[in-house]
């Protein structure tokens, strides 16, 4: 009897084990598919020119940082340093600005009932309906009029405006999930609305703010279209710099990939460090 039971139990267990194995294989293949480009970028950046073009590919080689040195300090006369700095400035400033403005707007939409609240929220979302390229020319003319061509401010303002809708819609749900009594308790305890926002609401939606911050900074860091149209030398960001690589002097693959690695690093580091908040943030709204 008990033997019978054991057999019956063993069968589905074996089946589920087989299924799990299949899952792992698929996941592994998918991971290889995703990671392979990164592998190529990183190894190419570490090879010398001969190894880069060798066929069959050289799997084992003496890693060199020469490409990084060239990319950072020599290439194109000044290296990539300025552009890295430009990217950091525009990404950092636009991320902070969109989080500050966006969280306030999201709180207002979540907590106050006013006429046209839904329409306002929809309008905010609708700012992302058209493809960005539709705005390039008018945006260019506006920036030109404001005398902001090739400045950090131009990019910061544009990225902020493009990111706000995402921040607002993401955080609105987070703020709405805070039990209203917590804020009412604070009102009775003697706090003003703005104090409640900073001291209670913002700390409670911290996972959401981190999630929004990561998404927004990835967008700003990688944005190419507006940066290429609106900047030339002063405020040019890494993606634009990267795209200009091929024209300058043939294709310097090693240095090109070195800049690619440099472009990858900061944002990957941020995402990696914050990933545990990220996961919590993306599920917070759903489960409660």
């Amino acid at each position: 009897m008990s033997n019978d039971l054991a057999n019956k139990a063993a069968l589905p267990m074996a089946r589920s084990r087989g299924r799990a194995l299949l899952c792992y294989v698929i996941a592994f293949l998918f991971a290889v598919y995703c990671i392979f480009p990164f592998y190529i970028v990183i190894t190419t950046a570490l090879k010398n020119d001969r190894e880069i073009f060798a066929w069959p590919p050289v799997w084992l080689f003496h890693a060199t940082l020469a490409n990084f040195y060239d990319a950072l300090f020599v290439f194109g006369g000044q290296g990539a340093g300025t552009f890295i700095l430009n990217s950091i400035i525009t990404t950092g400033a636009s991320t902070v600005l969109s989080l500050v403005l966006g969280s306030m707007a999201a709180y207002g939409l979540a907590r106050f009932r006013f006429r046209g609240r839904r329409q306002l929220a929809f309008w905010i979302l609708s700012t992302r309906f058209a493809p960005p390229i539709a705005f390039v020319v008018p945006m260019y003319l506006m920036v030109l009029q404001l005398n902001l061509l090739d400045t950090h401010i131009a990019l910061i303002l544009i990225y902020t405006s493009m990111n706000l809708s995402l921040v607002i819609w993401l955080l609105r749900g987070f703020f709405a999930e805070i039990p209203i009594e917590i804020e009412e308790a604070a009102l009775v305890d003697g706090y003003t609305r703005i104090q409640i926002f900073w001291r209670i609401a913002v700390p409670l939606v911290q996972p959401g703010i981190i999630t929004a911050g990561v998404l927004v900074s990835i967008f700003s860091w990688n944005e190419f279209l507006f940066a290429s149209v609106l900047t030339q030398t002063n405020a040019q960001t890494l993606p634009v710099y990267l795209s200009g690589f091929s024209n300058a002097m043939g294709m310097a693959w090693g240095q090109y990939m070195a800049v690619g690695v440099i472009a990858l690093l900061p944002i990957s580091a941020v995402a990696f460090i914050l990933q545990r908040y990220l996961v919590r943030g993306l599920t917070f709204g759903a489960v409660r």
């Binding site: 039990p179 009594e181 308790a185 009102l187 009775v188 305890d189 003697g190 209670i200």
Partner: protein, 371 residues
């Protein structure tokens, strides 16, 4: 000294819900007032208007005789305890209790001293560095009480503070709340839907239903002399028996007819009833007031026992009569057998007679107890 007065206060929400209608209520200094009622009766809206969390649609709210309708919540100097505790989840117990003091910008050392004092009163010393989510329900509500107490407010507001707690915890904490009220000589407004809890803590109970005050008084007043049908059935340990009744007058003699029964009346009661002869009335008699007598007594209602449910030392006895079923409570050893024929007697002081509009004809001076 804090007194609270509602003057014809109404609350209508944006969706048209008329939560509170024409509420007039005076709360004395150092009084412990309970607002009791079923959910949706307007008791929470009343408390929230008092706290300043909800605007007042019409009427006036006075604290110490001064109109506070427009005073924001943070300036009312009231402390509130919420049903779901409403602790700040990202702060530890110490910081939660300290919050009202940090709002006032009080010095750190002073805050520490007072928080520790409160923690001792509420036996929370061991939990000061814990996050709210690691606490039990009882501990959480103690923290919420601590947060309310630390401000030494003039007025305590409690919105079903024990609603989410286990029964034994409720009994323990409610006596604690009463003790703290005495010690602080505060004025307390306490909301509950539990009459036992209300009776245990309150000096006075206000019963609300459909946004209106139905009756106010001590629990015994509400039980002995309910002003209307709603209070009679809501404030009742066991559901009150309601039997159809009429009044006949025959040669100057007024009689109350409940089926075959003619309950004895006092002169005063007879005088009141003579005015409603012929109307279809309802007689209310609480199960604990039902007197079971041998069948055949004059004026009694004959019936047959159909169910006996023992409950500890008492038993609920269901009796079938010509005017419907009624329940009686009797000590277990004096319980009749199922199927036995018995008489139901109506003790004159315990009978309530309700008019079709619900008002109790036998209530003692309903005007005096109208809040």
């Amino acid at each position: 000294m804090p007194t609270i007065e509602f003057k014809a206060v109404s609350k209508v929400y944006a969706d048209g819900t008329h939560a509170v209608r024409d509420l007039s209520l005076f709360v004395q200094n150092r009084e412990f007032l309970c607002i009791l009622g079923p959910s949706g009766c307007g008791k929470s809206s009343t408390l929230r208007m008092l706290a300043g969390l909800e605007s007042i649609t019409s009427g006036e709210l006075l604290v110490d005789g001064i109109r506070v309708n427009e005073v924001p919540a943070r300036q009312r100097d009231m402390a509130m305890v919420f049903e779901n505790y409403a602790l700040y989840p990202h702060l530890d117990v110490f910081a939660n209790i300290a919050m009202p003091l940090s709002a006032k910008g009080i010095a750190k050392s002073e805050i520490r001293r007072r928080v520790e004092e409160i923690a001792e009163v509420l036996k929370l010393q061991g939990q000061m560095r814990q996050q709210p989510r690691t606490l039990s329900g009882g501990q959480r509500q103690r923290v919420a009480l601590g947060r309310a107490l630390i401000r030494e407010p003039r007025i305590f507001l409690m919105d079903e503070p024990l609603g989410h707690l286990e029964a034994y915890m409720r009994v323990e904490l409610r006596s604690e709340i009463r003790r703290l009220h005495e010690e602080r000589s505060a004025t307390t407004v306490y909301i509950t839907h539990d009459q036992e809890e209300a009776g245990a803590v309150a000096d006075r109970i206000v019963v609300m239903e459909q946004g209106r005050v139905q009756q106010s008084g001590r629990l015994t007043d509400l039980i002995d002399s309910p002003t209307n049908r709603f209070v009679a059935s809501f404030i009742s340990e066991w559901p009150i028996n309601m039997l159809p009744a009429t009044v006949t007058t025959n040669g100057g003699r007024t009689a109350l007819c409940v089926g075959e029964a003619r309950p004895a009346l006092t002169d005063c009661q007879a005088a009141v009833l003579s005015g409603v002869a012929g109307e279809s009335l309802e007689l209310g008699l609480r199960p604990e007031d039902v007197e079971l007598v041998p069948p055949g007594g004059p004026g009694d209602l004959p019936g047959r026992v159909i169910v006996v449910e023992p409950q500890g030392g008492m038993a609920v006895i269901v009796i079938e009569t010509s005017v419907g079923r009624l329940n009686a409570i009797a000590e277990t050893e004096r319980t009749p057998n199922v199927g036995a024929l018995i008489g139901v007697s109506f003790p004159p002081g315990r009978v309530h007679v309700f008019k079709p509009d619900g008002s109790n004809l036998f209530a003692r001076d309903p005007a005096a107890s109208k809040g």
